[in-house]
């Protein structure tokens, strides 16, 4: 008996650690491979050594050559994702506060509508909008990418913000109103500053979702100078599979991903809280 009791903690201590190690490897190995491939010299791109023999930033300088338009594409991505995030937060915050605080008849219906809209397939929205946008000459404009993106960003933001607002005690506004604030003032002066972390988290999650969007961006735009980074990287593809410039694609992938990875590392605790509170992607 004593022996078993002594042995049980041994594997109980180590097994989870091994499991954690496996999960970390699972998540990071492909990412590591992208980074390492980006830092190889183009001449030994197909070298499969785990650590490059020679490190080089040639792939990165290639990506930012004036002809590629990658810098411009990054700016386009920033404009589209940034605008989507700001619009979504402005519109969504009011709705989320209403859903979290007011009791009204069709509240569950509204919640159900908002959650349902986030399940609609992007393609069924893109096709009619593409036709509409070509009629009103919106193709190759920023708004052609921004407006359809609201379809997934807004439900996501409202859902997240509702969860955050609900966690705040009602006494906060009541105290503010006792002190003479109107409900609108209580919202502006008490709730918004206190909800800032939640709003900020929602902003990050929305921004990441908008930054990662591909279907809308590839459907609404066919001019290189207005394409987002995702679309441009995918179209780096050479004429045949063989001469696909994988080195520059990996470098571009690293450039597109690194801001998100840094944000994730800094705000991981908040993002996890936001994702699980929202219960949605």
């Amino acid at each position: 008996m004593a022996q078993i009791a002594a042995e049980a903690p041994w594997y109980r201590r180590w097994l989870p650690l091994v499991g954690v190690g496996l999960i970390v490897l699972y998540c990071l190995v492909p990412f590591y491979w992208m980074v390492v491939s980006a830092f190889r010299r183009p001449s030994d791109q197909f070298d499969n050594s785990i650590i490059p023999k020679r490190w080089s930033i040639e792939n990165f300088t290639d990506v930012f050559q004036p002809g590629t338009g990658f810098g411009r594409a990054l700016l386009n991505s920033l404009i589209v994702a940034g605008t989507v995030t700001i619009l979504t937060l402005i519109v969504g915050m009011v709705a989320a506060y209403t859903l979290a605080r007011l009791d009204f008849k069709f509240k569950n219906l509204v919640l159900a509508i908002i959650i349902t809209t986030s399940m609609f397939p992007g393609i069924s929205l893109v096709i009619p909008l593409k036709k509409l946008f070509s009629d009103i000459e919106w193709i190759n404009t920023y708004q052609a990418m921004i407006v359809p993106s609201l379809s997934f960003a807004l439900p996501l933001a409202v859902w997240n913000l509702t969860a955050f607002f609900r966690q705040m005690p009602r006494e906060l506004e009541q105290a503010a109103m006792v002190d003479g604030c109107t409900p609108a003032q209580a919202f502006r002066k008490v709730i918004i500053p206190l909800a800032a972390p939640g709003v900020f988290t929602t902003a990050i999650i929305t921004f990441i979702a908008a930054w990662n969007e591909f279907l809308i961006a590839v459907s609404m735009v066919n001019r290189k100078d207005i394409s987002t980074a995702n679309v441009l990287i995918a179209s780096f593809t050479g004429t045949s599979g063989r001469d696909q410039p994988f080195g520059s694609q990996m470098a571009a992938g690293v450039v597109v991903t690194i801001p998100l990875v840094i944000a994730v590392l800094i705000f991981q605790r908040r993002i996890v809280a936001g994702l699980t509170a929202g219960g949605v992607k």
Partner: protein, 349 residues
């Protein structure tokens, strides 16, 4: 609240007053919700209706007299009839099969892996910060970038073949390209399911496990009788969202393998390619069919398994005496089980 008075003496007059009270709040709520609802109506409601209408029309093409037809023509259900017949029919059913196959395979794999990951993370006391950080990285990488990343690893002389010691041409038609898409999708989203399930696991109080231990339950029995039922609500919602997300899969096969590849062509890709040729009628018909398919799957899933999608939001709503009014939900979302909101929201206990 005033409801208690009306409950004591439910006269018609009191009922009228209560309704008017609700209407006042309702009007304010309607005002505050209108921007969101209007935006959703414009970017989702309008396109859905418009796609339905569009699918009944045709544009372009060659008429009976041999001239190119200008403008659009009403063709009724011709677009749908064309989809189900002949060569386009084969293409449609192939895309339908691929979409379904990806969804079933990926979601099953991701759920199994995700639950396993969540169990490991729940047991681990060391290294939680690093595991949480690394689990978010596949989620944060844009799907397009992860598609290119896997395409690079699945290159003919890439790392996958080197590690496996094989000479497989992964991006060619056949099972290998299907497998590459499944691997890439599972890699990206299994950790995410793990994260959601972990949140569910953390709401289960330790006392429950202690009680099971005292009763002499085996680890397997503890897992099937306690853990699974208690994380079921969180898990069901995560799985439902993954199913709906995989049914509209586009980026991954499109970038990883490429367009016009029979083995990995999904309904989204098919509709996209049609729209790219400005054949909006058939494109809209494909998109509408995909939409209907997704609605049916979601409905069946919620009905059969009782996934409580809005459980968390409803849980904190104070119960009023008019209970039936609280359930004014479209059928499908209201299938709440008694334990519906237990784990879905986190912190319910």
């Amino acid at each position: 609240m005033s409801e208690s008075a009306s409950a004591v003496e439910p006269t018609p007059g009191k009922n009228v007053r209560r309704t008017s009270f609700n209407e006042g709040t309702g009007r304010l709520a309607a005002l505050l919700l209108s921007p969101t609802l209007i935006v959703l109506l414009l970017v989702i409601g309008y396109p859905i209706i418009s796609a339905l209408r569009e699918s009944l029309y045709t544009s372009g093409g060659i008429g009976d007299d041999g001239f190119v037809i200008e403008g659009t023509r009403f063709v009724g259900l011709d677009n749908f009839a064309a989809i189900f017949s002949g060569e386009t029919g084969d293409r449609f059913w192939n895309a339908f099969y691929n979409t379904t196959f990806f969804t079933v395979t990926c979601v099953v794999l991701e759920t199994l892996l995700g639950v396993l990951m969540a169990m490991v993370m729940h047991k681990a006391f060391k290294g939680r910060a690093i595991v949480r950080a690394s689990i978010l990285i596949p989620w944060a990488i844009p799907t397009v970038v992860s598609a290119l990343l896997w395409k690079w690893m699945f290159q003919a002389d890439g790392i996958a073949n080197a590690v496996l010691g094989t000479q497989i041409l992964w991006s060619t038609e056949g099972w290998q390209s299907v497998l590459s898409v499944i691997v890439a999708d599972t890699w990206k989203t299994a950790p995410f399911i793990g994260l959601l399930v972990l949140a569910g696991l953390q709401t289960i109080p330790d006392e429950v496990y202690e009680a099971a231990k005292v009763d002499g339950a085996s680890p397997w029995k503890t897992f099937t009788r306690i853990t699974l039922p208690l994380v079921k609500p969180a898990l069901l919602v995560a799985v439902l969202f993954r199913i709906l997300d995989t049914l509209r899969i586009f980026d991954l096969p499109y970038v990883l393998v490429g367009p016009n590849k029979e083995s990995v062509e999904t309904l989204s890709i098919l509709a996209f390619l049609e729209a790219n040729q400005t054949r909006y009628g058939p494109a809209a018909a494909y998109a509408t069919l995909l939409f209907v398919y997704i609605v049916v799957v979601a409905y069946v899933f919620v009905r059969l398994l009782g996934a409580d999608v809005i459980g968390d939001a409803r849980a904190s709503k104070p119960k009023k005496n008019g209970k039936s009014k609280d359930n004014q939900l479209p059928p499908g979302t209201a299938a709440a089980t008694a334990s519906g909101s237990l784990a879905a929201g986190g912190g319910g206990l």
